[in-house]
Symmetry: none
Subunit: 226 residues, 2 copies
């Protein structure tokens, strides 16, 4: 499940933009050529394509035109060239928006949000969590492990939600218990453990040696993005 595919040949800029947009909550994949992008698109669906105009090999315009033959995915162009011909080319080859370099990250984020909004209508920003091989779509109450949907019970879902929202953080047993069951409840002790076990059975490759949900002795549990 990938939201955005970025095609930008400058390694530095590519890394930078990926990092920024990942922080903004998007699942983003960065590649350096049109050819790479093409390969990726054959395997995975995306929601937005960000395309540099000047690329080695097939340039952005040509690639966009090609894409448009059998896809209506939104495209946002990036270009250092500012003359009018360029802008026209962008729109004519099927773009949805256009941005001049140097890229201002805040404006980029606003543009992405605008495109996502009008293309998909949903405000999917914080309703989808991507954490390693696991994705959670809160709006639709779906969970994916390696793009395969999982069926979780409500308690398992709540537990996983708390864990994936805080990857790498150790969450105290008391904290988890209080969040899911409420502060009362005498029993607590074992019931959390039991639910952790059931969750592990569903999301761990080898439930005997849990990698994603790790136990922190005497404290609680920690989720690792794998």
């Amino acid at each position: 499940m990938t939201d955005i595919l970025l095609v930008e040949d400058s390694v530095e800029l590519n890394t930078l933009m990926c990092a920024f947009l990942k922080k903004a909550g998007y699942a983003i994949k960065g590649v350096h050529t049109s050819e790479e992008a093409e390969g990726f698109l054959q395997k995975e669906q995306i929601k937005l394509l960000i395309l540099d105009v000047m690329l080695p090999g097939m340039d952005g315009f040509a690639f966009c035109s090609k894409i448009r033959e059998n896809s209506s995915v939104p495209v946002l162009f990036l270009s250092a060239k500012v003359d009018k011909e360029d802008k026209m080319n962008g729109f004519l080859s099927g773009a949805d928006d256009y941005m001049e370099k140097p890229v201002d990250m805040d404006i980029l984020q606003a543009k992405i949000a605008a495109i996502m909004k009008r293309s998909y209508d949903l405000k999917q920003k914080n309703t989808i969590i991507h954490s390693g091989a696991i994705s959670m779509d809160k709006e639709n109450h779906q969970v994916f492990l390696n793009n395969q949907e999982l069926s979780l019970t409500v308690k398992e879902y709540e537990l996983l939600e708390l864990l994936t929202e805080n990857p790498g953080k150790t969450l105290h047993k008391d904290f988890l218990f209080q969040k899911i069951w409420g502060m009362d409840s005498f029993s607590e002790n074992q019931t959390l453990t039991v639910h952790i076990k059931m969750l592990r059975n569903k999301i761990e490759e080898d439930p005997k040696k849990p990698k994603r949900i790790q136990t922190v002795w005497g404290v609680g549990y920690k989720y690792e993005e794998i």
Copy 2:
């Protein structure tokens, strides 16, 4: 029938743009203030609003925000100011795109075409839904299963419509209930279940083992395209 409403206080520019866009085939109305525009919108529907940022009286941002309270009409901003703050304001008040002055008419036309395309082109298809073996023709209120017409009651139809419009998504019982019956209604509890059962009897090969309408325990139902 008006396609575009242009709000621009400069009389010269207003006249010029209207002339150009009229020639390009759009039915356009030019006004000079937000107040005038507001009056116009109460009488007529439009497809696109082009809004100058700097206007006497209510400025473009404020007007756009106001419009957004009860309309989702696409908005394209024009502004002489080019600083970042301005751009952000435009997007945040609900804009669909943004152009800097001086306006290049060719680019403007391309942008308008792009907005029109993504705002209207796609949505018109939605009167017919194809989802797996089921097709729904909303216009004629017909439902087909494997090209064979089904006869559904109103409630069954509404239920199926919500489900097929969101294939793969889990829809909460509360959501379904609220959409079909309205938020009041005390009873709710079982009546949705009962209607689901009746729908299943009509669209499932084996109603005992539903494939299309799957129940998501503790949450609601999900439609799978089969």
